[in-house]
Amino acid sequence: MGTMRMMRRMALFVLLGFACSRPSSPAPAPAASTPSASSSSPAALVPVEPAAESLSEVTKVADEDLKTEERETNPYSESVTLKLSISPPVKAIVTWGAKTVARVAPGTMDADIQRPRGSGPLDLEIKADGYLPYHTRLYADRSDKVSVRLCRNEDASALLGYKRSIEKNGGEKKK
């Protein structure tokens, strides 16, 4: 367990090197608002908006387009329902670690899973003949749903990371 912890930490430091190259979220259009009056108004620090051309040099303008999450009927319910929809219609096995949680086939490509709320996410693997193994996650801290589209083996080259992965493996595909 300790070794795993150290390896995880090393991976984190590698990622941390990249952790600063993007804002935490996509950058939609700037938002305009009027702050309420205050005894500590930051107005003294606020410059008047400059001309548009100089703004473009200042920053990639981004005020987060905040949207509240869709509300749950009962956010404190004991259990949650996790829905998985798989396409295209093929025979597939959905596993969670060593456990098989669903077998789907054409006509029944959806799987509903009941889990105790807050029991940790389900990291699922979906396997189907002729398709690349697919890993996804369903969150159990809320009712969650995800649709996945499996990728045929021969379509792998269209995926992000394919080129880098192949170069790393010396031109050989592992699977």
Binding site: R5, M6, R9, A11, L12, L15, F18, A19, C20, S21, R22, P23, S24, S25, A27, P30, A32, T34, P35, S36, A37, S38, S40, S41, P42, A44, L45, V46, P47, V48, L55, V58, T59, K60, D63, E64, T68, E69, E70, P75, T95, G97, K99, G120, D123, E125, P133, Y134, H135, R137, A140, D144, L150, L159, L160, G161, S165, N169, K173, K175
Partner: protein, 705 residues
């Protein structure tokens, strides 16, 4: 001698000691003298008798009346019960009555989470669940991992350095287990403290070093014999040619002796499984055990056997547990009192001339007198410890022996906190300031790739002020980070250096995000985006969500304040995000002089404390969990991975925003502006010229942790 002068003398001493002891100023201070002399705890097999008469033969002065002692109450519902220790005897009192008397109820329950992780309510009364709360509580209680999944039996989290202090039940378990161990008699403290640290290497280098030491010993033994010297020291004096070797040999001998004590301590403390460890070698099992020890005891090191590690190992187990308990209670006290001042504000006062005492920062009271800014967190923690009767490790052990785990489901203690300074109020005029300290813009390597000296005397600092009666009064001042030269993968796939600057000037915090999420760029190495994880009886590959968060390992830590530029056009304001945040960080060692990519990192626990304080003393809107809906599908090693991040985190909006000023700092060297664009790494052959660096936030710090 009054308190001010004492603190003036103590502060530089504390600063000097902390430099050597590798303790962080922002972390909980060392325990202060309590009413009873703190005795070193030893395992006591007998149950202490509460309220038993003192064994001391001397007559004792009658105790002062305890004005805050409330009458024992019975038949109360759990939510009204609180605890007090009065004259050494515990009693349950009425929490409502305590509050009406001006006492503060400090939550000691295992269900505790800081303010930023509390659920909110929408304007229509609908609940806004703060989902990370359950994970935080599970982590603190050693019940779950960072995903909220159950821990294997016996596993421990040790996440205090990551901003998740252990719960009281965990502390109870720790005290009881450690009290049953008999390490003290088996460890030679003098050997641990005889060295400044122990050199450690990887396995192959370690073997080489061991062999080298062995043969050097043989050579010196032969030389000693032929010189007729009784000791190696004598050989060194007789023949100075051997002096260097003798010194190195004796140093290594002392380190090896200390190493053996470290092994004994880790095994005795139950952190190292002797059957998995090869004696005398710093193998994986021992390295992991040392890291657990450091994290259990909040020692700032990453498995290196530093002086502070050895000092902690030289202390009795229960003494370390007592220090940990104090740190835990400090966080509870800070949250209960919505207080922040921890004595660190003295660092905001310029150093005086030689021979002069450093003055504490002050604020003006109603009479116009200058009053020192108090160490409220320290005083409140003292008050909690005193009210619980915890003057020593023995007291703490007795406390935990008389309480079961079940007691910590709803335990609170009623305490008289120190009076709040006059500048406190429901909406304080707070201002944050980041001083970038000494800055070097020059490229830090020569053509051979050797690092060039770029000394810094002044490191970046974060200060939170309150504006009060025409003055800016510092409340805390902590170390932080700024951007610097970092490696970056460019659009051509090559790795270059690039200066990641921290924005200078006036900004605001409009949004504070609890359990924020960070999105890795598409150029992030895919190997780091996948990990092996135990899942339901197997170890499959899964997407690595550690650094994206939400979680204590997130690149943005447990909480972040978003820096925005606020511009006015007429009556409306527009906000610009350049990717800079002030945030907590799991990378706690980076706060000791390393650079970020532009963001201002704080220790996770301090970030949680500070943002909780800000939210508690400003007008806010609880926006709740914000949708993100991020998804990235990628290929790695023949499989498809689907990264899903449904939420951005739990948002609070400050209304009005809180001003944040980033100072330019002192530019050292000749360059007055940072070099823009990519700079080739010395010694690396590139196929072409570096591509043009991207604009926008990416060209600057860009979302940098």
């Amino acid at each position: 001698m009054d308190r001010t002068i004492l603190q003036c003398i103590a502060a530089p001493l504390i600063a000097a000691v902390s430099l050597f002891a590798c303790r962080d100023r922002g972390q909980s201070p060392a325990p202060k003298a309590l009413p009873r002399p703190a005795s070193v705890a030893t395992a006591s097999a007998t149950e202490p008798v509460i309220g038993a008469p003192s064994a001391k033969p001397e007559p004792v002065a009658p105790p002062k009346p305890d004005e805050d002692a409330l009458p024992e109450a019975s038949g109360l519902s759990p939510d009204r019960r609180a605890l007090q220790v009065v004259a050494g005897i515990e009693r349950v009192i009425d929490g409502d009555l305590a509050r009406s008397r001006g006492l503060t109820l400090v939550d000691l329950s295992d269900d505790f989470a800081p303010f930023i992780f509390q659920d909110g309510k929408a304007r229509d009364g609908a609940p806004l669940p703060n989902r990370y709360r359950a994970v935080f509580v599970g982590l603190a209680s050693d019940r779950t991992d960072g995903d909220g999944e159950a821990l294997p039996p016996g596993a421990r989290n040790y996440l205090e350095l990551y901003g998740v202090p252990p719960s009281l039940s965990v502390m109870r378990q720790r005290f009881l287990e450690d009290a049953a161990r008999t390490c003290e008699g088996t460890i030679d403290r003098s050997k641990l403290l005889a060295v400044d640290g122990i050199d450690t290497w990887g396995s192959s280098t370690e073997k080489k070093e061991t062999t080298r030491h062995h043969f050097r010993g043989l050579r010196l033994e032969a030389a000693q014999k032929s010189a007729g010297a009784a000791t190696l020291e004598e050989l060194s004096q007789k023949d100075p040619r051997y002096a260097k070797d003798v010194k190195a040999h004796l140093r290594t001998d002392a380190q090896r002796a200390a190493f053996a004590e470290v092994e004994k301590r880790l095994i005795c403390e139950g952190l190292l499984d002797a059957s998995k460890h090869k004696e005398g070698f710093y193998d994986g099992a021992m390295r992991s055990a040392a890291l657990d020890f450091q994290q259990k005891n909040a020692v700032f090191a990453q498995a290196d056997l530093t002086r502070s590690t050895l000092e902690a190992m030289a202390r009795p187990l229960l003494q370390n547990d007592f220090l940990a308990l104090r740190r835990v209670l400090a966080e509870r006290a800070a949250q209960a009192g919505r207080i922040l001042e921890d004595g660190s504000a003295i660092d905001a006062v310029p150093l005086p001339k030689l021979g002069k005492l450093r003055k504490l920062p002050t604020f003006k009271n109603a009479a116009g007198e200058a009053v020192p800014v108090p160490d409220l967190v320290g005083q409140a923690t003292d008050a909690v410890m005193a009210r619980l009767g915890l003057a020593s490790a023995e007291d703490a052990l007795a406390f935990f022996r008389r309480h079961s785990d079940r007691d910590f489901r709803s335990l609170r203690v009623a305490v008289r906190f120190p009076p709040l300074p006059e500048y406190y109020g429901p909406h304080m005029d707070l201002v944050a300031e980041i001083d970038r300290g000494d800055i070097w813009y020059e490229f830090p390597f020569n053509a051979k790739g050797d690092r060039l000296p770029q000394p810094r005397e002044r490191f970046p600092s974060f200060t939170l002020f309150v504006k009060w009666r025409g003055e800016k009064v510092p409340l805390v001042r902590w170390r932080t980070t700024i951007g610097g030269w970092r490696s970056e993968v460019a659009s051509d796939g090559e790795e270059y250096y690039r200066y990641k600057d921290s924005d200078v000037g006036a900004r605001v915090w409009r949004h504070i995000v609890a359990a924020p999420v960070w999105l890795p760029p598409t150029s992030a190495p895919l190997a780091a985006m996948v990990k092996t994880k135990y899942v339901a009886g197997a170890y499959p590959h899964v997407v690595n969500y550690d650094e994206t968060g939400p979680g204590y390992l997130s690149a943005y830590g447990l909480v972040a304040g978003i820096h925005e530029q606020m511009r006015r056009r007429g009556e409306t304001f527009t906000y610009y995000d350049n990717g800079i945040r002030t945030h907590g960080s799991f990378d706690y060692l980076s706060l000791r002089g390393r650079f970020s990519h532009g963001c201002h990192r704080l220790y996770n626990n301090l970030a949680v404390r500070m943002f909780s304080f800000v939210l508690g003393h400003r007008r806010i809107k609880v926006l709740g969990p914000m949708a993100l809906g991020f998804r990235r599908t990628f290929y790695y090693d023949g499989e498809v991975y689907d990264m899903r991040l449904p939420t951005r985190g739990f948002y609070f909006q400050l209304d009005p925003p809180l001003p944040v000023e980033t100072l330019k700092g002192d530019i050292k060297g000749k360059l007055q502006q940072p070099i823009s664009g990519y700079v080739p790494k010395p010694g690396v052959k590139y196929g072409s010229q570096p591509p043009k660096a991207g604009g926008g936030p990416d060209s600057k710090a860009g979302g940098a942790p």
